[in-house]
């Protein structure tokens, strides 16, 4: 097993798939010559050339719409949104076109496209560049939404996304590219739509993904020192949502905390909590607590920004609260 960063994992996945399938190409802003604003596609332009690593104008509709069209006629484009915040400029394509084309035309069209996008706050980029609007995109049937939190999952899931015949939104986090983790050698994929227990425990179930996973694992270590063992279940995929490991865990612990970086209202946590209550009502020993971003646009000031974002301390506090 090699230990690599999430950035390296994504890079590797892209390269492996591009090597494997000539239909795979990349298009987005600054992905080619610049090497990608998060350096994910560094070196790709030289290796694969302009035809397969397409620098686009700053025109999100053209990027995503174009990727949809290319996918419909048989290619496998991996479009990049410089940040998910720019996804709003291409909303119609992401949620109104891509997820519906297969359905609306009786199965005649396939859209085997991947949209990679970076999200999340914590770098003082200001309110319009720091959002985690995952829940919005996860709302639409027909779109698959994936958000890994480890290098192993990032690599395996991106490969699956590229090979999938469905449109997949692949959400990365701006502050997690350097997170290190073990990755299996050789060829492997991870199925879309499967949650995973990343850490076993008996006292409280933490359900989370992406940045929340990183924070929850740190919280788990701290809580362990106090004799509290939390079980951390990583969603990995937001749609389709796999509740099985979560319910199984919850039946064991009877108490849960859901952690996400997005806002609490109408967020991913709302969905998870609802389903736990629906599917495991008799196992609920305490109300489920959601840890999420404070209901504010994210400020520029560093201290305030950190105060608004969920932290490890918020998670440990929530775990203790739910144990009362």
């Amino acid at each position: 097993m090699a230990k690599i960063t999430i950035r390296e994992a994504i890079s590797q996945a892209l390269m492996e798939e591009m090597d494997r399938d000539p239909k795979v190409f990349i298009m987005g802003e600054e992905v080619g010559v610049w090497g990608g604003t998060y350096a994910v596609t560094k070196g790709f332009y030289d290796k694969y050339g302009a035809a397969r690593v397409k620098d686009t104008p700053i025109a999100e509709n053209a990027i995503i719409g174009g990727a949809i069209g290319a996918a419909m006629v048989g290619q496998r484009p991996v479009a990049e949104l410089m940040t998910i915040n720019f996804g709003f400029s291409a909303m119609d394509y992401i949620v109104n076109q891509a997820p519906k084309l297969h359905y609306m035309f009786g199965g005649q069209f396939k859209v085997p496209m991947v949209i990679r996008a970076v999200g999340g706050g914590g770098r003082q980029l200001g309110a319009t560049h720091s959002q985690t609007p995952d829940a919005i995109f996860a709302h639409f049937p027909g779109l698959k939404v994936v958000s890994p939190g480890t290098p192993e999952d990032a690599k395996g899931l991106l490969k699956s996304a590229i090979r999938s015949d469905d449109p997949v939104l692949f959400l990365e986090h701006a502050t997690m590219y350097q997170v290190r983790g073990e990755v299996p050698e050789g060829e492997y994929t991870i199925p879309i739509g499967k949650s995973k227990v990343q850490r076993a425990g008996k006292d409280v179930t933490i359900v989370t993904y992406c940045k929340g996973l990183e924070l929850s694992m740190k919280a788990a270590e701290e809580l362990s020192k106090e004799g509290i063992e939390v079980e951390v279940v990583d969603l990995r995929t937001l749609r389709p949502l796999d509740m099985e490991p979560i319910i199984e865990s919850f039946k064991k612990t009877n108490r849960a905390v859901v952690v996400e970086e997005g806002w609490k209202s109408y967020g991913v946590g709302s969905e998870v909590v609802s389903r736990i209550y629906e599917q495991a009502f008799d196992y609920v020993d305490a109300p489920i607590i959601r840890v999420a971003q404070k209901e504010v646009p994210l400020p520029y000031n560093r201290t305030l920004e950190q105060a608004a974002l969920p932290q490890v301390a918020d998670i440990t506090a929530a775990v203790k609260e739910v144990l009362k």
Partner: protein, 319 residues
């Protein structure tokens, strides 16, 4: 367009469209067709001439006024009518309706409802074909109203910047819904917008199918040879409202009447007789045949089954 059969076939297609649209309007008013329905009556020459000019490998994509385009691409009146009635035998299995007709086997890529939304996708087809290394042309049809939205500009821009093989065809029927071109657009000649992108462009009388055909042939040739986009503005007019239920308060009856004097079917009829391609009687027979085919299409559609309830959940994902 020289072969007699081809010309008579085009005449048949235009009448077929006209009759199907008329019958569709009746069925809509009878409550059998729901949602939005946009009739092509008056514009038959545009898609007929345009699509007749394409190579089979050229892709066609259009907006929501797509019944005529569907028929011109070779989709059957039966399937089109069945789709209008929402039946399982419809081209999109009843899941798309009037605005979402498609048949990839006929290289007809839909029927799209978001104004201007399909333009970047059309560019995408061309990106895909460019990537694949072929010389397919994507024929993208849209209305004058779509030329003011962002999608139009992003798509035209990237098509020129990347040298994509797209024939951008603007069906200028003088109105974007209820708003004249003058009131919505900075320039009244749509083709002028292509100038801003340094794009080759042209304009043609959309009521004359022969003229449309010739202009389209020239434009397609250009696009294919030069791997450059081309914007063709086609001036036309819709004799009915924007869609069913349009009270047409935005235009005068006299104006409609005036344009109807230039009915494309009438114009072509006259041309065929003058050029001695066919007799009036022969043309009448073609019209009767087209009418008959529409009658059969309605019968087929009405006799067809509704989609099964389970179909609600099919085709959400391809995987």
């Amino acid at each position: 367009m020289n072969k007699k059969e081809q010309q008579l076939d085009l005449y048949y297609q235009m009448v077929l469209i006209r009759r199907l649209e008329e019958r569709g309007a009746e069925l809509y008013q009878a409550g059998k067709i729901g949602g939005f329905m946009h009739l092509y009556i008056g514009q038959e020459a545009v898609s007929t001439g345009l699509i007749a000019a394409r190579e089979p490998r050229d892709r066609v994509i259009t907006a929501y006024r797509d019944h005529g385009v569907a028929l011109n691409c070779g989709m059957s009146a039966n399937e089109v009518m069945a789709e209008l009635l929402g039946k399982a035998t419809g081209v999109s299995k009843g899941m798309g309706g009037s605005m979402h007709m498609a048949d990839t086997s006929k290289n007809m890529w839909g029927g799209h409802a978001i104004v201007g939304g399909h333009l970047p996708i059309a560019a995408g087809f061309a990106i895909g074909d460019q990537y694949a290394g072929n010389d397919n042309v994507t024929i993208c049809m849209f209305g004058d109203g779509a030329t003011n939205i962002g999608y139009f500009h992003e798509a035209l821009n990237i098509s020129k910047t990347w040298g994509l093989r797209v024939l951008w065809v603007c069906e200028n029927n003088q109105y974007g819904m209820g708003t004249t071109v003058e009131r919505a657009s900075a320039v009244t000649e749509i083709r002028q917008k292509a100038e801003g992108y340094g794009m080759k462009n042209g304009q043609v009388d959309g009521m004359d199918v022969t003229k449309v055909y010739e202009a389209a042939k020239e434009a397609l040739d250009f696009v294919r040879k030069n791997s450059q986009p081309y914007l063709l503005e086609v001036d036309t007019y819709r004799f009915r409202g924007h869609s069913m239920g349009d009270p047409e308060r935005y235009r005068k009856a006299e104006e409609v009447k005036k344009w109807q004097e230039n009915d494309p079917i009438g114009i072509f009829n006259k041309q065929l007789i003058e050029k001695k391609v066919a007799s009036a009687k022969a043309l009448d027979e073609i019209e009767a045949r087209a009418e008959e085919d529409v009658v059969k299409a309605v019968e087929f559609a009405e006799a067809s089954p509704e989609p099964a309830m389970e179909e609600l959940y099919s085709d959400i994902y391809a995987d």
